[in-house]
Every structure is written in structure tokens, then in C-alpha cells.
């Protein structure tokens, strides 16, 4: 790897990291605004024009709050929990193809940090480590409510990971690759995977809601009934990390949804406009972010529409509906793949 390539990758890594944080920061603002608008209110509008400085104010508040580590907590793990959560949330952005190729001078470079040939597997590996962030935090708090909240959260995430994994296997059967880049390239023009895997998309979407702990699956952290769940004992920026990681996860989930099922940076008929390759790449990236923002909005939209599940309903849906449905989808996909290859 020569110096230019190294520098380009470095810039890309830093910008993806920065953009993730920025979007997560403004998701908190968007969440409050969307919530307000869906409830016929106006939302935060005092800090700066239209309240756009609200996330800064919230951040300052988080930092100024008293830092409390309970006396009986395991101090190392207590800090490791939110750190791990934040770390895994930021790691997934690496394999997402943010755009096509840009040519500047003689250098051509990819708007993807690294194209691992097991990109999808990498995402799932990292996402499943995220569960440990919650479990460690809950265990280290040395508080029975936190522990129960952590158990709730981890069993929920593990249950829905199964269905999510199976729906992804069906997708991999149709695409024939685990590389996120190749999956996006295959969806050029209008050949989006949502058209080939509608049921798989539905399962993936529901599981994405469960994985990011968003309503209607937000039992791990519903403040009103279940006293905050795993982060009951957390305060100050460590609590901020947990909440922030949720928003990064939401951003990354939206990016994955857009990548896997909605064609990533592809858009129908973009080739026929006769634009230069660089312009196509930039427009593609912007459209990709448009899709991501739509999904982030969708996450919030659903939050203010559907009430929270009861815990047994959650488990019923996960094990008795989602997994059989995912298996059914896998089965159908297998039959169709065989039929298209002329097995019958």
C-alpha cells in the first residue's frame, strides 16, 4: 500500500467516523422534531434557529452531569460496557460501500473503506459483539434491575439475530456473494433486491428494529415501565455513550438496509442521463444518503405509531413467527434458485 492510498483510506476512515457521529448527533434532534411533528407539536426550537444547536446543548448537559460509579460496581467492566457498545457501533461502517469510484487526476479510488469478501459476515460478527456491551454494562452495575434489563435486552437481540441471519442467507443465495460491494453492483439500475426478496426484506426490517432496540422492541430501555433497563445505574457521558450508540446503530442499520435491499448508491436510469462518471458517483452517494435518511425517518415514524410489545409477545413473534417465516423464505428461495438453474 503506497502513501497516497494510505492517505486516501485515512481520510475516508475519518470522514466515515465523523459523518456517523454527526448523523447520530442530529438523529437525536431529528427524533425529537419528528416526534413533535407527528404529535402536532413543534419540538425543540429555542437553541439556535429551528433549534439546530439542541444536540450541542444536550451534549454539554451530558458532560456536565455528575459521573457516578456505584460503590459495588465492577469499575473496569462498568466503563468497558458503554465503550464496547460505542466501539462496535462505529466499526460496522467500514464495509459499507458509500459510493462508486471517484477519479481525481490519475488516481481512482473507491468510496468504501475496505471491500472484505465476507463483508456481510463481518457486519453480523460486529453487531453480535454489540450485545456484550449491554450485558457487560448490566452485569457490572451490580444491580438486579440492571441485570434483568440486560437479560431482557440480550435475549431479545440474540433471538432476533437468528431470524435476521436466516433472512440474510436467503439474500446471499440469490446474490451469490458476501461482499457488500458486489451485492450493490448487482443491483444496478432497478434490479433492487427488495424486488427479489420482499419477504426477506420484511423479516430483516423487523429484526433491524429489534436489534437496534427501537420501538416496538424497545423493552431493554423503556424508562416508564422498566426503569431504564440495563443503563439504570449509568449517568453522565457513559449513559450518553449508550444512547449515542443506539443512534449510530440506527444509522448503520439504515445504511445496511439501503445497501442490501434498496440498491445502495444505485438509482434507476442514472446511466441514461449521460453524466460524467465522477458526477454519477457523487449523485449516487447523495442518493444513498437520501435512502439512509428515509430509513432513519422510518425508524422514528414507526416509533410514534406502534405501541411497545409485551415481553411474551416479543418472544412469540421472534421464535414462533419470525424464524419459521425466515426458514420458509429460505426454502422458497432455494427452490426458485434450483428451478432457475434448471434442476427440475
Amino acid at each position: 500500500m503506497d502513501t497516497t492510498e494510505f492517505l486516501i483510506k485515512l481520510i475516508l476512515v475519518i470522514s466515515v467516523f465523523g459523518i456517523s457521529l454527526l448523523i447520530a448527533m442530529y438523529s437525536t434532534y431529528a427524533e425529537r422534531k419528528v416526534a413533535a411533528f407527528l404529535q402536532d407539536r413543534l419540538g425543540p426550537n429555542r437553541a439556535g434557529p429551528f433549534g439546530i444547536l439542541q444536540p450541542v446543548a444536550d451534549g454539554v448537559k451530558m458532560f456536565m452531569k455528575e459521573e457516578i460509579i456505584p460503590a459495588n460496581a465492577d469499575k473496569f467492566l462498568f466503563i468497558a460496557g458503554p465503550s464496547l457498545m460505542m466501539l462496535t457501533a462505529c466499526m460496522t461502517g467500514v464495509v459499507i460501500p458509500w459510493g462508486g469510484e471517484l477519479t481525481i487526476g490519475r488516481n481512482t479510488f473507491n468510496l468504501q473503506i475496505t471491500d472484505v469478501n465476507i463483508g456481510l459476515l463481518y457486519i453480523f460478527g460486529v453487531v453480535s459483539i454489540g450485545v456484550y456491551g449491554i450485558m457487560i454494562g448490566a452485569w457490572a452495575s451490580n444491580n438486579k434491575y440492571s441485570l434483568m434489563g440486560g437479560l431482557r435486552a440480550s435475549s431479545q437481540m440474540i433471538s432476533y439475530e437468528l431470524a435476521m441471519g436466516i433472512s440474510i442467507i436467503a439474500l446471499v443465495m440469490t446474490t451469490g456473494t458476501l461482499s457488500t460491494k458486489e451485492i450493490v453492483e448487482q443491483q444496478s439500475s432497478w434490479h433492487w433486491n427488495i424486488l427479489y426478496q420482499p419477504l426477506g426484506f420484511l423479516i430483516f426490517l423487523v429484526c433491524a428494529f429489534a436489534e437496534t432496540n427501537r420501538t416496538p422492541f424497545d423493552l431493554p430501555e423503556c424508562e416508564t415501565e422498566l426503569i431504564g433497563g440495563f443503563h439504570t445505574e449509568y449517568s453522565s457521558m457513559k449513559l450518553g455513550f449508550y444512547l449515542f450508540a443506539e443512534y449510530i446503530n440506527m444509522f448503520i442499520s439504515s445504511a445496511i438496509l439501503a445497501t442490501l435491499y434498496f440498491g445502495g448508491y444505485n438509482f434507476p436510469f442514472i446511466e441514461s442521463w449521460g453524466l460524467s462518471p465522477n458526477a454519477v458517483t457523487i449523485i449516487g452517494t447523495l442518493l444513498f444518503f437520501g435512502k439512509i435518511f428515509f430509513f432513519i425517518f422510518f425508524f422514528m415514524w414507526v416509533r410514534w405509531t406502534i405501541p411497545r410489545f409485551r415481553y411474551d409477545q416479543l418472544m412469540n413473534l421472534g421464535w414462533k413467527v419470525m424464524i419459521p417465516l425466515a426458514l420458509f423464505n429460505l426454502f422458497i428461495t432455494g427452490i426458485i434458485t434450483l428451478w432457475r438453474n434448471g434442476a427440475f
Binding site: V34, F37, L38, Q39, D40, R41, L42, W301, T305, I306
Partner: protein, 180 residues
């Protein structure tokens, strides 16, 4: 039984059909309802800049009235303090000195008159008790504050100004009061 409105729905505990059991149509229906609210007119009133219309006989921040010549009506008789169920009113009486006739209407006046706004329940019994039409509740809202001390309103915050522009109109409230 006849329904009083056409909004009542009969609740039946029937078995759900397949379409109902997959929930998706219901969820999409719900999403459509919430998205409609995104574009609706917002009900928020931006308080300090905008205010909700209030009744002219609203019982808010008290005023100690002056007469037409700008003299304070209050004679520190103490009936308002006696009438006050929250014991929010205290006062100190003083005798009018020669040369102060333009300030106080009668020969006795309140040198200190304090209402504790945190105790006050805005019932209006003080103005009912007042024989001199000196105290009235107005449609002004008591402003919020950070310190308890600031809620003990003295004469500086209660007595209306002498100039015609600074007078506080209580005619509607006074009229409503007289019809009791």
C-alpha cells in the same frame, strides 16, 4: 340500547381473519394516520411571544388601584389579609403626613404591602373583602422566577402607575365583581 353518537363501535371478541392476524395492513393504516399528522397545523402556542387569549375577568397578578387623582385607594384596614384563606397578604399601616395628600386618599395608608405569590391561590377573596376598591386581580400572569424571595411582591410590583398610560384597566373585572 340506542347509540347517542355515530362514533361508538361494537366490540366483538371474534377470531381474527388471516389478514388481521398478519397485522401489516393495520400497521400501514397506523403509519398513514401518523404521517397525516406530520402536515397538520401545530397546536403549540410559543408562550412568551404568543399568548393564549384569556378571559378579561382572569384572576392573576394583583394590582393596588389609585383613584382618578393618582392617590392610593388602600387604607391598610387589613380586611384582605383577614379574608385571605392562604394567609398570603401582610401589611404595615402608617399615618399620612401633612403634604402627602396627593399620594394617599385617606389619612391612613399601607407603608408596606406584601403578597406572597407562592402562597396566593388567586381565589379573589381579597378583592371581595376590600371596602375601598383598592385591590383587584388582573389578567396578567405572574412571571416565573428562580428564587423564592422574588415571589414576595411588594408595593413596587403591586401598585399601578400614576400616569394614565401605566394605569391598569380593571373595569371588566370590577363590573363582574359588582354583579355578585
Amino acid at each position: 340500547m340506542q347509540a347517542l353518537t355515530n362514533r361508538s363501535m361494537v366490540v366483538v371478541n371474534k377470531k381474527m381473519t388471516w389478514m388481521e392476524r398478519i397485522y401489516l395492513p393495520a400497521i400501514i393504516g397506523g403509519l398513514m394516520i401518523t404521517i397525516r399528522h406530520l402536515f397538520k397545523k401545530k397546536v403549540t402556542i410559543q408562550y412568551p411571544e404568543q399568548e393564549r387569549p384569556r378571559s378579561a375577568v382572569y384572576r392573576g397578578w394583583h394590582v393596588l388601584k389609585r383613584d382618578e387623582q393618582g392617590r392610593e385607594n388602600c387604607t391598610a384596614c387589613g380586611l384582605c389579609a383577614v379574608a385571605c384563606p392562604a394567609e398570603a397578604i401582610t401589611m404595615t399601616a402608617a399615618e399620612r403626613k401633612p403634604g402627602e395628600e396627593h399620594l394617599y386618599r385617606e389619612e391612613k395608608y399601607a407603608s408596606v404591602y406584601e403578597i406572597n405569590m407562592l402562597r396566593c391561590i388567586f381565589c379573589g377573596l381579597c378583592e371581595e373583602a376590600c371596602p375601598k376598591e383598592a385591590i383587584f386581580l388582573t389578567d396578567r400572569i405572574v412571571p416565573s422566577g428562580m428564587l423564592r424571595e422574588n415571589f414576595i411582591f411588594g408595593k413596587d410590583k403591586l401598585v399601578e402607575g400614576v400616569e394614565p398610560d401605566n394605569r391598569i384597566d380593571v373595569s371588566k373585572r370590577a363590573r363582574a365583581h359588582r354583579t355578585y
